[in-house]
């Protein structure tokens, strides 16, 4: 008894566990802790020590710069929040941007913050200091200097930077026997070769689509991914504005082996193997008087040719023909001849890029030199030949034999693994440089942020190679332009070009060319067996962007595939071989065999296998490794885009192909959701319109929208399907990436999706961007138990994230399926792969909430922009002006397909658009009264064809 009393109370365990006192203490402690967690954690405010001039906390700044794609520039304006870039937009003053962006420009901001970016110099994978490399480089360059640079080779991509060219010229003068090789996987070799044959000198063709009424594209893809997509898209749609009469509406004929964006936007499209497209070109030329043999063409192609030529000849001075990179140089020369006969409205300019030797020849010569052991010093500047060189050049094996090899790039990639040294390259958003676009316009590239890691720029490395101990890209770029600016005040000029983002008077002048010569071109035999055609991918391009999660998850335009590529087959071929979607086949060419999943594409030519480049990488980073299969290995240096005699055999395995859209024709109901009208019959035919005139009867009084009434009109005829709006929305609104597994479960997160509808299997589809409809009678609003989905006075349907409990009733009630649910913390705690790294969070837009797990989200009409514009207007005691608020998708769209504005403002564009005959509401018969409405797509069919079909 005495012992028990003496025992101390508290956590002394009795034979049965805690005693009552201990339990009560724990309970009280727990309760106190629980209460303590209700109070706010302390927060700090950390101001500047000295605030930078011009910076106001809370107000973002915009800077003009330029971003490269395949070496050519697109001018951009980058929004900088407190010293870091968060959003990329177009530069209205730049001719290759015209105020819009493409997917690659929008996604560049994410690759700046990629955690997989190379951060340190590596010597055979061991990190070392720059000084170490600098010392070794100096020694090596001294050795080269002794032999006049005969063992020195430089390999780059396409270089258009005047400063880099100046530095390269200086370097090659200092090392006279050194060579500079260029290899850009997506290059213009065939085009320049054709121009050489026709004119004796290389020229670049810039079609003037505003003056063109009939265009024939032979395996060409001007609307496809590339540095000219924005400009071509804008001009293309500009030439097809609906108010023009059918005579003024550009009629677009496309002959191509497999679906591209250009074919998807055509009026008349013919699926034809590339060999027969050559014969088609010959047939056209023959009709115009050329002394050539036309060769065989199937009946359908024959008819197509007749129609096209008839149309081309009927519009002298307003018709043109263009050929694509997959066609041989002779076809390009033939097109030059045809255009001269037609007096086509095209501008020919001297190329900005070095045209001779071609990229393929340049790489081949380098490979030969390396194999012959003539190369002692190989410096690879921002190129990845181990991955993207054609498979029949064994670059990987060759590189191993070079004694001193250096790779200078953004990632520690496949080529870096084969080189002795790897140097980290600064991202364009953190470097000083300059660039030129395809038409020659030069811009200064200015950094938006101090380099995140210990990187250098290409300018600095070239300066080191030239013997400089240290170099500043800023000084080097200024030096270039000081020499070019005639006298006067350089500083004022410099500030001017930095503000504008464009250097005036740098566009190439039209080239004076002689009359084109007709090339000798024999017609092709119809192909036997399978022909593999390759194309740059609409999201990966040539593989440069494979570690960019936004682009991996951005659905490809026509197939809506994500996170991988596929071997596309025509329906007939698939039926013949007994293949269905997802069956894995083995493609073989020579010794090379690769496995690829099959995707059946109605409308593809028979005998054609189409796949895209940019996949199958093995050393790009956590996002891109092992995604898809590598088609580069099947490429041949002599024929990189068309490979004949490819074998295909079923393996019996299956692989899931991830797509975000699973139905393209909707059992024939696609025409209800997506009417495609014929411009000839626009006036006479009353299109099926789904106007909700009054809608179902209601007892509720009409809501008086007498303040701003935000609405959006999307012209599906102008949408070319480029996906710029999808990625722009993702960048602006902190929309997370969910990864392939979640996509496989149907949980894609894009607020704005683009639906592809085929009204028939072979006619060109249409693209319908679907943001939130912001219905006036929204079905998602009455069903939310906590009023997280509500309406505001200006017509927006709001989603209040902090109220949402995740019932998901709103998502199931939405007839348009535009709502997205955070099944996991995709942006907060359960990010895909390495996207949870702190550096990735720098990209977030501070004006938009980052949603937690269990919360519903959807398009908000960029409510943060509306709010910002309203506050600005109200500070100035006025209303918001027409055009002051633009949504992210509207800004990004190259063709200006999206119009947004206040319906209650009589000056607003949306009112005019809503009055058009083509105007319709999506699923309007449901009575939702959507604020987002559409204009139907138009096709300008050749009247001869329509009569036949009728």
């Amino acid at each position: 008894m005495t012992e028990n009393l003496a025992r101390p109370a508290g956590l002394a365990a009795t034979h049965a566990g805690l005693d009552r006192r201990a339990a009560l203490k724990l309970f009280a402690g727990g309760a106190a802790l629980a209460l303590a967690s209700c109070s706010r954690p302390p927060e700090e405010i950390v101001p500047y020590v000295e605030i930078p001039e011009g910076l106001t906390p809370g107000i973002p700044l915009k800077f003009a710069t330029a971003l490269p794609l395949a070496g050519y520039a697109r001018g951009v304006l980058v929004k900088s929040v407190e010293g870091r870039p968060t959003k990329i937009e177009g530069n209205p003053r730049h001719p290759a941007s015209l105020g819009s962006t493409d997917v690659f420009a929008e996604a560049s901001v994410l690759s700046l913050y990629d955690p997989d970016r190379s951060q340190a110099v590596r010597n055979r994978a061991q990190p070392v200091a720059w000084e170490t490399f600098a010392g070794v480089l100096r020694t090596q360059m001294e050795q080269e200097s002794a032999r006049h640079g005969s063992g020195l080779r430089l390999l780059t991509g396409r270089i258009t930077s005047p400063t880099l060219r100046r530095q390269l010229d200086d370097l090659l003068r200092a090392f006279p026997e050194a060579r500079w090789h260029r290899y850009e996987p997506v290059n213009d070799d065939a085009a320049f070769g054709g121009a050489l044959q026709a004119f004796g000198r290389p020229v670049v063709v810039l079609p003037r689509l505003s003056d063109t009424k009939v265009m024939l594209a032979l395996d060409a893809d001007p609307l496809g991914p590339g540095p000219q997509q924005i400009r071509m898209g804008r001009d293309f749609v500009g030439a097809r504005r609906a108010q023009a009469s059918p005579q003024d509406f550009l009629r677009f004929y496309v002959a191509e082996p497999a679906w591209t964006l250009t074919g998807a936007n055509a009026d008349q499209r013919l699926a034809l193997p590339p060999q027969l497209i050559r014969n088609l070109a010959l047939a056209v030329a023959k009709e115009l008087g050329a002394n050539v043999e036309a060769g065989n063409l199937p009946a359908e192609a024959q008819r197509f040719a007749e129609l096209a030529v008839g149309d081309l000849k009927s519009r002298p001075g307003r018709a043109a023909v263009m050929a694509g990179r997959a066609q041989p140089a002779e076809v390009h020369a033939l097109c030059h001849w045809i255009n001269a006969q037609l007096k086509a409205p095209v501008d020919l300019i001297d190329p900005v890029d070095v045209a001779e030797p071609g990229h393929a020849d340049s790489l081949r010569t380098l490979n030969e030199d390396v194999v012959a052991k003539r190369v002692q010093t190989l410096i690879i500047l921002d190129a990845n030949p181990v991955y993207d060189a054609p498979g029949d050049l064994d670059v990987r094996g060759a590189l191993r034999s070079v004694p001193f090899s250096v790779h200078f790039g953004h990632y520690n990639n496949e080529t870096a693994a084969m080189c002795a040294w790897h140097l980290p390259l600064a991202h364009p958003l953190e470097s000083w440089s300059d660039l030129r676009s395809l038409d020659g316009t030069a811009s200064i590239v200015q950094p938006l942020i101090r380099p995140l890691y210990d990187t250098r720029t290409l300018h600095q490395l070239l300066a080191y190679m030239g013997g400089a101990a240290s170099a500043s890209s800023y000084d080097l770029v200024r030096e270039t332009w000081k020499a070019r600016v005639p006298g006067g005040d350089f500083e004022t000029w410099w500030r001017g070009v930095l503000t504008d983002g464009v250097i005036p008077n740098t566009a190439q002048q039209p080239a004076q060319v002689p009359a084109p010569k007709l090339p000798t071109l024999a017609p092709a035999q119809p192909p036997t067996g399978f022909t593999l055609t390759l194309a740059p991918d609409a999201s990966m391009f040539d593989g440069t962007f494979s570690n960019n999660a936004w682009l991996q998850e951005c659905p490809r335009p026509v197939t809506r595939q994500v996170w991988g590529n596929a071997a596309h087959l025509s329906a007939n071929d698939a039926r013949r071989l007994g293949l269905v979607d997802g069956d894995v086949v083995r493609l073989g060419r020579g010794d090379v065999q690769i496995d690829a999943p099959v995707m059946i594409r109605p409308g593809q030519a028979d005998g054609i296998i189409r796949t895209t480049l940019g996949y199958g990488r093995w050393q790009t980073g956590a996002i891109g490794n092992q995604v898809g299969f590598d088609a580069h290995r099947l490429q041949s240096i002599g024929s990189p885009w068309v490979l004949e005699g490819v074998s295909m055999a079923a393996t019996g395995r299956r692989e899931e192909i991830l797509t975000t859209q699973h139905q393209y024709q909707l059992e024939g109901e696609a025409h209800e959701l997506f009417p495609i009208l014929s411009i000839a019959k626009l006036e006479s035919e009353v299109p099926r319109r789904h106007e909700s005139v009054g809608g179902p009867a209601t007892l509720y009084p009409a809501y008086p929208y007498n303040t701003y009434a935000w609405s959006m009109v999307i012209d599906t005829g102008a949408c070319i399907g480029c996906n710029a709006c999808v990625v722009a929305c993702q960048a602006e609104n902190n929309v997370p990436v969910v990864g392939p597994q979640e996509i496989g479960m149907g949980r894609d997160m894009h607020w704005l999706r683009i639906d592809t509808y085929f009204t028939s299997e072979s006619s060109p589809p249409g693209f319908q961007p679907v943001p939130c409809m912001h219905c006036e009678q929204a079905p998602c609003e009455p069903v939310c138990p906590v009023m997280a989905s509500i309406h505001d006075a200006e017509g927006l349907n709001l989603q209040v994230y902090n109220r949402c409990v995740g019932t998901r009733f709103c998502e199931s009630n939405c007839p348009y399926k535009v709502r997205r649910f955070n099944f996991f913390g995709y942006a907060s705690g359960q990010e895909f792969a390495n996207l949870g790294a702190d550096v990735v969070k720098l990209q977030f837009n501070p004006d938009v909430t980052v949603r937690a797990r269990g919360v519903m989200e959807k398009c908000t009409y960029c409510v943060q922009r509306i709010s910002g514009a309203r506050r600005t207007a109200e500070r100035e005691n006025r209303k918001i002006h027409n055009g002051e608020v633009t949504t992210a998708c509207q800004d990004a769209c190259p063709t200006r397909a999206i119009s947004f504005g206040d319906r209650n403002d009589p000056a607003s564009g949306v009112n005019t658009l809503r009055q058009e005959r083509r105007h319709y509401e999506l699923l309007g018969e449901l009575g939702t009264r959507p604020r987002t409405t559409y204009l139907a797509r138009l096709r300008n069919l050749n009247p001869a064809l329509t009569e036949e079909k009728a």
């Binding site: 209460l35 405010i45 209040v800 005691n877």
Partner: protein
């Protein structure tokens, strides 16, 4: 067999039944009161700062305008806390050796910012914009309290959503003329109701949109 229920069992049963009815209401009331208490809202809690900056001295004593330090309040959503160089505009000449200002001098010398403890904090899902409130005639002291009499900064109001809505639903009692927005001594005069109604119209304040969720939550 021994009795299972003693004589007290009846009382226990009655107490338990009563508490089943009452306890949930008490718990909710406790929670309700707790969430409005100073403990949770942070009102009237003075936080320790690296430098004991006295608004009373600088505002009432010296007559500094709010905007001298919180300079972005008329243009930006963020009023902000001034950079060290703002403090040094005066303190490079006054109290240059004061021990109290040692952290400020060190901050400038070592180029490292001062870590102030945030007093007026709104949750991250609230997007508050200072400049629009200033533009519409809501004064600094209306929300931040009598700053001119605070020797150390504290959060004067509860800053709960209900408190914000109190004004958003009816701004009339709080609207000042624009010249009085930065007056630390302003009190609503007798005719505030009348004046406020006039300002509601003159300042183009849209009552309808003020209570839309999208005003603050996006």
């Amino acid at each position: 067999m021994p009795q299972i229920f003693g004589p007290a069992a009846n009382s226990v049963a009655r107490v338990v039944l009563l508490s089943i009815l009452i306890t949930p209401f008490l718990a909710i009331a406790l929670g309700y009161a707790l969430m409005r208490s100073q403990y949770v809202t942070g009102a009237s809690i003075t936080r320790d700062q690296p430098v004991p900056f006295s608004h009373e001295h600088h505002v009432t004593g010296l007559g500094l305008d709010c905007r001298y330090c919180h300079s972005s309040v008329e243009r930006s959503a963020v009023a902000g806390v001034p950079p060290t160089e703002t403090c040094m505009t005066c303190h490079s000449q006054l109290y240059t050796q004061a021990e109290m200002l040692e952290p400020v001098r060190t901050s400038l010398a070592e180029n490292r910012p001062i870590h102030w403890q945030r007093v007026n904090v709104l949750p991250n899902y609230v997007y508050f914009d200072h400049s629009i409130h200033i533009a519409k005639g809501v004064g600094c002291t209306t929300c931040h309290g009598p700053v001119g009499s605070m020797p150390l900064m504290r959060q004067a109001q509860s800053l709960t959503m209900g408190w914000c809505l109190n004004c958003h639903r009816d701004p009339v009692p709080y609207l000042r003329e624009r010249s009085a927005v930065f007056d630390p001594e302003w009190k609503p005069p007798a005719q505030q109701e009348e004046d406020g109604k006039k300002r509601l119209i003159a300042y183009l304040i849209d009552n309808k949109h003020l209570t839309d969720c999208s005003t603050c939550h996006r």
